[in-house]
């Protein structure tokens, strides 16, 4: 187990190093850092002095090492546009994105598992066929269309829910949450649903396929032959075996939820890191772009690690280390 964790950590470090290289290339070679920092009227000699002082004339390797050293300390420079340390900027936007991502992952997981189990247990029902048909539309419609549709229906036509922003937030000092106010919660509903739909259909179809597969196994037949109740078989024996791949996929999807939040955040003007990234791309705010890249990669890597560890918790064969 320990060896496994160490190997995983090493792999993660390697992935991060590679992403750091890409981030560094963007940081260093997209546009000219100096001209982004100073005005057009700055003289060439002054620019050269700045270049020297910032170490931009050092060998690339040295610059990369410095970039990584800074990154390890959470230093990604100053945003060209907002003149604020990038790390501070991202951290201030992070709570909004995390709350949105977790709310939609929760919706996707709960609704996805429930619908997946239902359609697997009643494969021939009308309701199941209906859900499967709708889910097909769900995966093929682009997120922004769904978001705009929801805004049109619930915000514009019915006027039930707000269509943009986070509502009132409460500052806990280190975290600004929208979960404690009514307007915050109401503002969360539409973007969270929009962001969840794709994952929801994915999880539902996965649960359904896995569950159908598990229901055909010998141990389910043996459980039936022992006279266990339908409930014990469906929601104990079958669901537990279905959950291994579902946990993996859901966990891995959490990374993409945060990454895909870009579109949803833009549609709903949600003040998270996604919309920060979109504006920084528009303004060629390179330090923010590079930091965002590193940040998303870090989240993916961390989630991967957690999912691998969850595997151990769920599957005794792996825990013993002598599975087949």
């Amino acid at each position: 187990m320990l060896a496994f964790i160490i190997r995983r950590l090493a792999q993660s470090a390697l992935v991060m190093l590679f992403v750091a290289l890409i981030a560094f290339v963007i940081f260093r070679y997209v546009g000219d850092p100096i001209s982004s920092m100073v005005g057009v009227e700055t003289r060439l000699e002054d620019r050269e002095i700045m270049r020297e002082r910032l170490g931009l004339n050092d060998p690339v390797i040295v610059q990369f090492a410095r970039f990584i050293g800074n990154a390890l300390q959470g230093e990604f420079g100053i945003s060209y546009r907002l003149q604020q340390p990038v790390t501070e900027l991202i951290l201030s936007r992070l709570p909004a994105t995390i709350e949105l991502a977790f709310a939609s992952a929760l919706i996707a997981l709960v609704v996805g598992v429930v619908l997946g189990v239902y359609t697997a247990l009643n494969p021939r029902g009308y309701f199941s066929s209906g859900i499967m048909a709708v889910s097909l539309i769900g995966v093929s419609l682009p997120t922004f269309l769904i978001g705009i549709g929801l805004i049109y229906l619930f915000a514009v036509e019915l006027g039930w829910l707000p269509s943009n922003g986070r509502g009132e937030v409460v500052d806990l000092g280190w975290w600004r949450t929208g979960l404690l106010t009514e307007s915050g919660l109401r503002s969360l509903i539409l973007p969270a649903i929009t962001l969840s739909l794709f994952q929801l259909t994915l999880i539902m179809r996965l649960v359904r396929a896995e569950m159908l597969e598990v229901m055909r196994t010998e141990y389910i037949r043996f459980a039936k032959a022992r006279g266990l109740t339908r409930r014990a078989i469906n929601f104990g024996h079958a669901l537990k075996n279905t959950m291994i791949p579902v946990i993996t996929i859901t966990g891995l999807q959490l990374g993409s939820v945060i990454a895909f939040a870009i579109v949803t955040e833009s549609v709903f003007q949600w003040p998270g890191v996604g919309s920060l990234f979109v504006t920084s791309v528009r303004d060629v705010d390179v330090p923010v772009m590079a930091a965002y890249l590193m940040f998303i990669a870090l989240i993916f890597v961390l989630i991967n690690l957690v999912v691998d560890l969850l595997y151990f918790v769920v599957d005794p064969r792996l825990r013993a280390g002598k599975g087949h």
């Binding site: 196994t217 010998e218 141990y219 037949r221 043996f222 459980a223 039936k224 032959a225 022992r226 006279g227 266990l228 109740t229 339908r230 014990a232 104990g236 024996h237 537990k240 075996n241 769920v314 599957d315 005794p316 064969r317 013993a320 002598k322 599975g323 087949h324």
Partner: protein, 326 residues
């Protein structure tokens, strides 16, 4: 005369397919007396598993029992509502499957699987059920049962897992155990032990066994009576000794030719040439006629019914004048 424990009457199992209805089991009838071991033999695909599944009510859709009746202790069980049938499974009929590596849920401890099954059928507390489970594991010959009970299935060898499966089937003291090729998937060295454990425990508890296998050697050593299946039908039923020493159906005689180590007074027959027909291509008349060394014209057009030819012996073959048409 005692009543039979299990009575199967004219059981027919069909599978509707695109190319018409396939009959996997056709019109089979047999009884099992309390405490009796009935062996059921036949080539792969003869319909042995299907018969067992039909008795316990686990034919998978679209398959279905098209005709016939199954009686257990004087109660008709083939037409029971699902919940009533579920209560019989595990409680009055236990089942042992072929492959112990896949029969146990890999994510559940042995203790959980045993206790869950015990408490489904018997009004016991968690602690009492656990005690009973440990006792059962002891009985089936798992060393250090009190400690091993909390292990997961993958921590046991194949033979040990099959012992666990037997413990699970016997959890609630069923009157009948259906063992569907319980040793086919096991290493030869442990096959005899597993059969012995199963037979001994059932005998102690007075449980009858329907022992499905294609191994005539196992039947010879274990069963009281034997039923021979061919292409979804019963070819012959009788006391083991009689059937082995003097097979009446040419198919049975051919099968006997395939058993190793038999009594010297037996004439060894050659293996039967050809293969069992597919369900969609069962010939008219006697289903065995294309392979039968003693086939007559009559056999090609008339189907023999399983008919009594001696006390306690039935055969479906036109060689015997007592046999009637199906």
């Amino acid at each position: 005369m005692t009543e039979p424990l299990l009575s199967v009457r004219g059981l027919t199992v069909e599978f509707p397919t695109r190319h018409g209805i396939l009959t996997a089991v056709e019109d089979i009838s047999f009884d099992i007396m309390p405490g009796e071991v009935l062996g059921m033999v036949g080539e792969s695909g003869a319909g042995k598993s299907m018969t067992g599944n039909a008795i316990i009510g686990l034919i998978e859709a679209p398959g279905r029992i098209a005709r016939g009746e199954v009686w257990l202790n004087g109660q008709r069980i083939d037409s029971l509502p699902p919940e009533a049938m579920r209560a019989i499974r595990g409680r009055r009929i236990g089942m042992i499957f072929q492959d112990p590596l896949t029969s146990l849920n890999p994510l559940y401890r042995i203790s959980d699987q045993l206790i869950e099954t015990i408490r489904t059928h018997l009004p016991l507390s968690q602690d009492a059920a656990r005690k009973r489970a440990i006792g059962l594991l002891d009985d089936v010959g798992i060393p250090d049962a009190a400690r091993r009970i909390d292990d997961y299935p993958h921590q046991f060898s194949g033979g040990m897992r099959q012992r666990v499966v037997i413990a699970l089937a016997l959890c609630a003291e069923p009157d009948l155990v259906i063992a569907d090729e319980p040793t086919t998937a096991l290493d030869v060295s442990v096959q005899a032990q597993i059969i012995d454990v199963m037979k001994e425990l059932c005998a102690e508890r007075g449980a009858a066994i329907l022992l499905v296998t294609h191994d005539m050697g196992v039947i010879a050593e274990t069963a009281d009576r034997v039923a021979v299946m061919y292409a979804g039908r019963l070819a012959e039923v009788g006391p083991v000794r009689d059937v082995i020493l003097a097979a009446r159906h040419p198919y049975t005689a051919g099968l006997m030719g395939a058993i190793p180590r038999l009594g010297e007074n037996l004439v060894r027959l050659n293996q039967i040439p050809g293969a069992m027909p597919r369900l969609s291509a069962i010939p008219p008349g006697c289903p065995f006629n294309p392979r039968c060394p003693r086939v007559m014209d009559h056999c090609r057009s008339h189907r023999p019914a399983l008919s009594p030819i001696e006390p306690a012996r039935k055969v479906a073959c036109w060689l015997y004048p007592e046999v009637t048409e199906a």
